[in-house]
């Protein structure tokens, strides 16, 4: 296990349609410690996915560096597990084979990897569904498989990009509670991206608020709420409400001042 250190990270895209450069992320520096649950919140389009994709190694940064322990992030790798908003489960593999995929790629013998996969399928509450195919499952169940698949590979860091945004509100709350339960049991290091302030405060030890385009760190808010957490306990909790209100104010305040020239976006 290792800390994640991000230094002066920036990303500038070339927008083919507009024919100009767009800075999506600028000068982001942050640290995430081993075993910590950190969320990044910000309005849609503020560069959250871009930031996470750089940490995952899917896209190269334009500026700055990302370190996991003493290694520089150069590309995707099994040390960083990813849970996708669209699940990205392999439809041609059963639940069990999806969860065992990472272990298979890393050469874990079959009996062993199936045993581990079964354990993680059970951890996310899907025992009995091992032989089903992803398309036979509801969205909520599919994302449980997504979480199990990433965790079964024992990554040093778990990256989650709005993982519960495409399930219904009831299921989302259940999944959030289950994620805190899993985190409390296993303490994986998690970097969680969302635009949902309630979700970020509910789940995290610390919430990082991004400004709007280009995304930079506006504020960090520690969340000292006791664990285990559940919606039943927190929904009426005064401290929870106060934290949500504070983060929400920071997110909303981060709208850029109206600038007709739009000069801010040309900084890259």
């Amino acid at each position: 296990m290792a800390d994640l250190v991000i230094r002066k990270l920036g990303k500038t895209y070339f927008d083919l349609y507009a024919g100009r450069h767009v800075t999506a992320v600028a000068d982001v520096s942050l640290e995430i410690h081993t075993g910590e649950f950190v969320s990044i919140v910000g309005a849609s389009g503020c560069g959250k996915t871009t930031l996470l994709n750089m940490v995952a190694g899917f896209i190269p940064p334009s500026e700055g560096e990302i370190l996991l322990g003493d290694r520089q992030v150069k590309g995707p790798g099994p040390d960083r597990g990813v849970v996708f908003q669209g699940f990205a489960l392999f439809p041609w593999k059963s639940v069990l084979d999806n969860v065992a995929f990472g272990l298979k790629m890393r050469g874990v013998p079959r009996a062993e990897r199936l045993r581990i996969a079964e354990e993680y399928v059970a951890l996310v509450g899907l025992a009995g569904a091992e032989s089903r195919y992803p398309t036979e499952l509801s969205g909520g169940m599919q994302q449980r498989v997504g979480v199990a698949r990433a965790l079964a590979n024992s990554p040093e860091l778990l990256l989650m990009d709005e993982p519960f945004a495409s399930v219904d509100a009831q299921t989302r709350m259940t999944l959030q509670e289950e994620l805190t339960r899993i985190w409390e049991a296993k303490h994986p290091t998690i970097l969680f991206v969302t635009h949902d302030v309630d979700e970020a405060v509910f789940l995290s030890d610390r919430v990082i608020v991004l400004t709007r385009s280009p995304g930079t760190v506006r504020a960090e808010v520690p969340i000292p709420l006791p664990r285990p957490r559940s919606w039943g306990r927190l929904v009426e909790d005064g401290r929870f409400k106060a934290l949500v209100a504070r983060v929400l104010a920071l997110v909303r305040d981060s709208d850029p001042p109206t600038n007709p020239a739009g000069g801010q976006e040309r900084s890259g």
Binding site: A56, P76, A88, F90, W92, F101, M105, R106, Y133
Partner: protein, 283 residues
């Protein structure tokens, strides 16, 4: 008919039960189920032949074709020719698929592969299979080599096009998920790209086999010394209209067999089971 057979109070008379079970049996077997829609065509055909509008020699009825079928079977000609045709198809299709899938993967995956190969593929596809016959006859003469070439050629393009299309339609997130789970490029190819492109590969296979089958018959007519295409052309020369018709019917039926025995089971075992394409209503 199910309702009749299922009524508990009074057992239905034997003939109703017989009809009921016959219908259920017909309904249960996919081969005979697809036969149903042909009954009106057969009746029309028999009616026109019976009316004697055209001379029997030029327009034989279904029964004449059945007799000719029996005749050619007992003489052993039809089984032999069928075997020849199917063997050529299998050989050509096998070679076409074996080269088409890797080519399609290359074109779909690699930008350089796409840039170098695509114009060539489009050019040769436009030339068309039968257009090769004159030069092939000069090079290889009348024989298996020429016919195999034509089939490979015909099967190849649909397989290449569809495989490349399938590769390109795989969501980026699948590849990313595999990479961040530790898959190396070679494993991604086998575990993600090939199964992800499989629905399209099967479509390519179906089109390729369909075109290949037609190309084979055409090639047999022109260069063949055996096979179903040759049988039909030879019968025409001898004025045996019945055998020409028989050949046509055999061609149609064989396609059902290839589709039902090879392609449909392949789809059921893979893409339909995974739920990436809609299931067929036929069991």
């Amino acid at each position: 008919m199910e309702a009749v057979a299922a009524r508990p109070s009074l057992p239905p008379p034997w003939h109703l039960r017989a009809i009921g079970s016959a219908v259920r049996w017909l309904d249960g077997s996919p081969g005979l189920k697809s036969f149903g829609p042909f009954v009106p065509i057969l009746l029309l055909w028999a009616g026109v032949a019976q009316a004697g509008i055209f001379p029997r020699i030029f327009f034989p009825g279904p029964w004449d074709v059945v007799l000719s079928f029996a005749n050619l079977i007992t003489k052993g000609i039809l089984p032999e020719y069928l075997e020849d045709s199917l063997l050529r198809l299998a050989l050509g299709a096998g070679a076409g698929v074996a080269t088409g899938i890797p080519l399609g993967l290359l074109v779909g995956l690699s930008r350089i592969g796409h840039r170098c190969l695509w114009p060539v593929i489009v050019f040769f596809q436009a030339v068309g299979d039968i257009a090769w016959l004159p030069i092939l006859l000069i090079w290889f003469g009348f024989g298996l080599a020429t016919m195999t070439f034509v089939i490979v050629y015909t099967v190849l393009f649909p397989v290449v096009f569809n495989t490349a299309l399938g590769v390109r339609s795989i969501p980026l997130e699948f590849t990313r998920a595999a990479q961040s789970l530790g898959a190396r490029p070679w494993r991604i190819l086998l575990e993600v790209v090939v199964p992800g492109a499989l629905p399209n590969i099967i479509t390519g296979l179906r089109n390729g086999l369909g075109y290949g089958w037609r190309a084979l018959i055409a090639a047999e007519m022109i260069v063949g010394t055996s096979g179903v295409g040759f049988l039909m052309f030879d019968a025409r020369r001898a004025g045996q209209v019945t055998e020409v018709l028989l050949g046509m019917i055999v061609l149609g039926i064989l396609w059902y067999v290839v589709d039902g025995w090879i392609l449909v089971p392949l789809e059921q075992a893979t893409v339909e089971r995974w739920g990436v394409v809609a299931r067929r209503d036929v069991p």
